[in-house]
C-alpha cells in the first residue's frame, strides 16, 4: 500500500532521508520510529506530496506521489506533528472546510463531521478552535485526518500533546481503523506508543532505515546480540565457563553473579550448578525492553 523506493531528500546537500526503501502492506499499522532529526517527518512530507524527493520515488496504492499528488491526497488522511487550524472558526467549520476538498455533499459532510467529533470526544465543545488546548487540537487533528474516510492514514507524532485519556482514545481509534483494514503509518519517537498499536515497525536513524519488521522480530534481533542472566545461589558457586559467556561479574561471596552471554544459556547454567550440587535461589534472564532495543538501534545507526 505504501512504497518508498530509494527515496532520498537532501537539504543543502545534507541528506534528511537517505536511500529509503520501505514497503508497508495494506491493512498494516506501521510504526516509524526514530530519534529527533532521523528523517521521519521528511519521509511523511514526501508521502503526502508536500515536498518533492531529491531522488527515488514513493507511491500510495500504486500511485506515484510526485507524479499524481492530487489522486494520492484523495486517498490519504494526514495529521501533521504541528497540527494547525483556523482559530476563529469552531471545530465543525474547520472540519467542514476540510471535507469540502474531497467533494462530499453538504449532508454527507454534516453527518461525517458530527460522527468524527463524537469519535474524538469533541462533540460537546462549542468554542472556537482558538480556545482549544493542545490536546484538543490533537484530537481534532485526528478527526480531520479521517474526514475523507481514507484508505491510508498518516499520523506524525500523534500522541505528543495528549493526556492519558486522549492517548487511550487515540489507541482505540487506531485499533478501530486497523480492524476496518485501513493502512496506518504512525511516526513517533515514543516507543511505548508505537508498541501499543503497531503491528510492525521500522527504525530510522540519520535518514536511513536501519531495521524493520514486526515487533517480535526486532526484539529477537536485539536479543541475539547479548543476554543478561542474573544468578543467585544458596552457597558460593564456582566460576562458570562457557564459550557463550561474554562477561561475568561475581559478588564477593560468589553467591550471586551477573552473566552476559551471546544467547540465553540459563538452562546450561542451571545444569552446571546442579552438577556441582549447588542449589540456585534465583535464575533470571533479563530480556531487553523495547526502549533498550530502540536505543541500541539508534546507537548502531549513529555509529
Amino acid at each position: 500500500m505504501i512504497l518508498c523506493d530509494h527515496l532520498t531528500k537532501d537539504y543543502n546537500g545534507v541528506p534528511a532521508v537517505d536511500d529509503l526503501c520501505l514497503e508497508i502492506p495494506a491493512g498494516e499499522v506501521f510504526g516509524l520510529l526514530g530519534p529527533n532529526g532521523a528523517g521521519k517527518s521528511t519521509t511523511i512530507l514526501m508521502l503526502v506530496g508536500l515536498i518533492q524527493p531529491t531522488s527515488g520515488a514513493c507511491s500510495i496504492d500504486g500511485i506515484e506521489v510526485a507524479a499524481h499528488p492530487i489522486e494520492v491526497k484523495k486517498k490519504i488522511g494526514y495529521m501533521p506533528e504541528d497540527v494547525g487550524f483556523y482559530p476563529d472558526l469552531p471545530a465543525e467549520e474547520n472540519l467542514d472546510y476540510a471535507a469540502k476538498f474531497y467533494g462530499l455533499s453538504e449532508a454527507e459532510r454534516k453527518r461525517r463531521v458530527g460522527d468524527l467529533l463524537t469519535l474524538v470526544g469533541l462533540d460537546s465543545v462549542g468554542t472556537k478552535v482558538g480556545g482549544y488546548s493542545k490536546g484538543m487540537r490533537q484530537r481534532l487533528g485526528l478527526a480531520r485526518a479521517l474526514v475523507n474516510d481514507p484508505a491510508v492514514v498518516i499520523l506524525d507524532e500523534p500522541t505528543a500533546n495528549l493526556d492519558p485519556r486522549g492517548v487511550l482514545d487515540y489507541r482505540r481509534i487506531v485499533k478501530g481503523l486497523a480492524e476496518q483494514g485501513t493502512t496506518v503509518l504512525v511516526s513517533s519517537h515514543i516507543l511505548s506508543e508505537v508498541s501499543k498499536v503497531c503491528t510492525s515497525v521500522g527504525i530510522l536513524a540519520r535518514g536511513k532505515l536501519i531495521a524493520s519488521g514486526d515487533r517480535e522480530m526486532l526484539s529477537r534481533a536485539a536479543m541475539q546480540d547479548r543476554v543478561t542472566i542474573d544468578v543467585e545461589t544458596m552457597t558460593p558457586m564456582p566460576r562458570l565457563t562457557n564459550p557463550e559467556i561474554l562477561s561475568a561479574e561475581y559478588s564477593q561471596d560468589t553467591c550471586s553473579a551477573r552473566i552476559v552471554a551471546k544467547h540465553d544459556i540459563s538452562t546450561l547454567i542451571a545444569e552446571a550448578l546442579y552438577a556441582e550440587g549447588i542449589l540456585p535461589r534465583r535464575l533470571a534472564v533479563e530480556k531487553p525492553d523495547m526502549e533498550d532495543i530502540l536505543l541500541s538501534y539508534y546507537t548502531e545507526g549513529a555509529a
Binding site: 517527518s41 494547525g84 487550524f85 483556523y86
Partner: protein
C-alpha cells in the same frame, strides 16, 4: 488545476474578509469618507454651477465675448465631486488594500494550517490564486458599494450625470479598484516572503511609503532642481503669472511682459526659449516616468484627467483613455507584477 479547490479557497477567503472586523472598520471609514467627500463635492459643485451661471449671465449682459470665452472652459462638472472623493480614496484605499493582504499567507503559517491546507487534494497555485481571488472579490464589492453610495448621494442632491460623465465615473471606479488591488497584491507578496504578519505589515508599509511618497518626491521642483539644475532664467525681463482655479482642477499659465524701454537681445531670447523648452521636456519626461512607477501617481493622473469638466476643448472618452493608456497599463502592470512575484514565491515555499 481543479476549479473546485480554487472555488473553495476563494469562497472562504471572501467570506473571511467580509466577516473580518478589520475589513468592517476600514470599509466603514471608506464609506464615510466617500460619503463626506461626495457631499462636500456635491455642495461645492452646486455652488460652482451657480457662480458659473451668474458669470455667464454677466458676460451675456455685458456682451463681452472675451470674458465669456475665458470662462467657457471652466464650466463645473459633477466629476469635481469625484475628484475630492478620489483624493481621500488614495489614502484610505491604500490602507484597505494592505490591511486585507498582509497576513493572508503568514496567518496560515502562524496558525500552522498551511501544511494541512496543502495536504488536501489541491494544487499550490489554487491556494494562492484562491486567496487573491477572494481578496479581489471583497475589494470589488467594497468599491462597488462605495460607487453606488456616491451615485445615490448625487441623486439625493438632484445631480444626474450624463452618459459621458457616468462613463468617467466608471473609469474613476475602476482606477480606484486597481489602486486598492495594487496594494493588496503588494501586501500579499510581503505575506509570502515574511515569516510573520508583523514583518509583512512593516515591509508593506515601507514599500507603500516608497511608492506613494518617496518616489514622487523626485519629480517635485526642489528635489528635481537639486538633481537636474534650475530652470533657465529669462534674459532681463519682468514676468508675472496668472492662475485660474476651480475646486476640481487648476489651470496655470505664465505670461511674459516687456517694458517698452527694455533692450532685449533676440538671440538671448531665442536661446532662453530653446533652453526652457528642453528643460520642460526633460522635466515632463522624468515626471511621467516617476508617475508611472508610483501607483498613487498613476491613480491621481487618471483621476485628474477623468474628472476634467466636459467642455468644447475637453477630449472625448476615447482620446482620454488613449492619453491615459500608459497610466492605466502601469496601474494594471504593477499589481500583476506583485501578484506574479507572490505566486512564484508561494510555489517555491519550503514546507517542513
Amino acid at each position: 488545476m481543479t476549479a473546485t479547490g480554487l472555488r473553495i479557497i476563494a469562497g472562504k477567503e471572501f467570506s473571511d474578509h467580509l466577516r473580518s472586523r478589520r475589513f468592517h472598520l476600514l470599509f466603514a471609514i471608506l464609506a464615510v469618507v466617500a460619503a463626506v467627500g461626495m457631499i462636500t463635492g456635491a455642495v461645492q459643485y452646486s455652488k460652482d454651477l451657480s457662480d458659473y451661471n451668474a458669470v455667464q449671465m454677466i458676460a451675456e449682459n455685458e456682451d463681452d465675448p472675451t470674458l465669456a470665452g475665458n470662462l467657457a472652459g471652466l464650466k463645473p462638472s459633477v466629476l469635481s465631486a469625484y475628484s475630492q472623493m478620489g483624493m481621500l480614496m488614495a489614502g484610505i484605499g491604500v490602507v484597505l488594500g494592505i490591511a486585507m493582504g498582509f497576513d493572508l499567507v503568514t496567518r496560515e503559517k502562524e496558525s500552522k494550517s498551511l501544511k494541512s491546507l496543502l495536504a488536501y487534494p489541491v494544487f499550490r497555485d489554487e491556494v494562492i490564486n484562491g486567496k487573491a481571488l477572494g481578496g479581489v472579490g471583497a475589494i470589488a464589492l467594497a468599491m462597488g458599494v462605495v460607487l453606488a453610495v456616491s451615485v445615490a448621494i448625487m441623486a439625493l442632491f438632484g445631480i444626474v450625470p450624463s452618459v459621458d460623465e457616468f462613463v468617467r465615473i466608471l473609469v474613476f471606479g475602476v482606477a480606484s479598484f486597481l489602486l486598492v488591488f495594487t496594494f493588496f497584491a503588494l501586501a500579499l507578496l510581503m505575506s509570502t516572503v515574511s515569516k510573520d504578519s508583523g514583518s509583512a505589515l512593516l515591509y508593506s508599509l515601507i514599500v507603500m511609503i516608497v511608492l506613494s511618497s518617496f518616489v514622487p518626491i523626485f519629480a517635485y521642483t526642489p528635489v528635481y532642481s537639486a538633481v537636474f539644475g534650475d530652470a533657465p532664467t529669462p534674459p532681463g525681463m519682468s514676468t508675472y503669472s496668472y492662475q485660474q482655479s476651480s475646486s476640481a482642477y487648476t489651470v496655470t499659465s505664465v505670461a511674459v511682459a516687456y517694458k517698452s524701454d527694455d533692450a532685449v537681445d533676440p538671440e538671448a531670447l531665442a536661446e532662453y526659449e530653446r533652453a526652457s523648452r528642453e528643460y520642460m521636456n526633460q522635466k515632463r519626461a522624468i515626471t511621467d516616468i516617476v508617475t508611472l512607477v508610483s501607483p498613487t501617481g498613476n491613480y491621481q493622473t487618471i483621476l485628474g484627467a477623468a474628472s476634467q469638466p466636459a467642455g468644447d476643448n475637453t477630449p472625448g472618452l476615447g482620446s482620454l483613455l488613449g492619453a491615459l493608456a500608459r497610466n492605466i497599463i502601469a496601474l494594471l502592470a504593477m499589481p500583476a507584477a506583485f501578484f506574479g512575484l507572490a505566486w512564484v514565491r508561494f510555489m517555491r515555499e519550503d514546507i517542513r
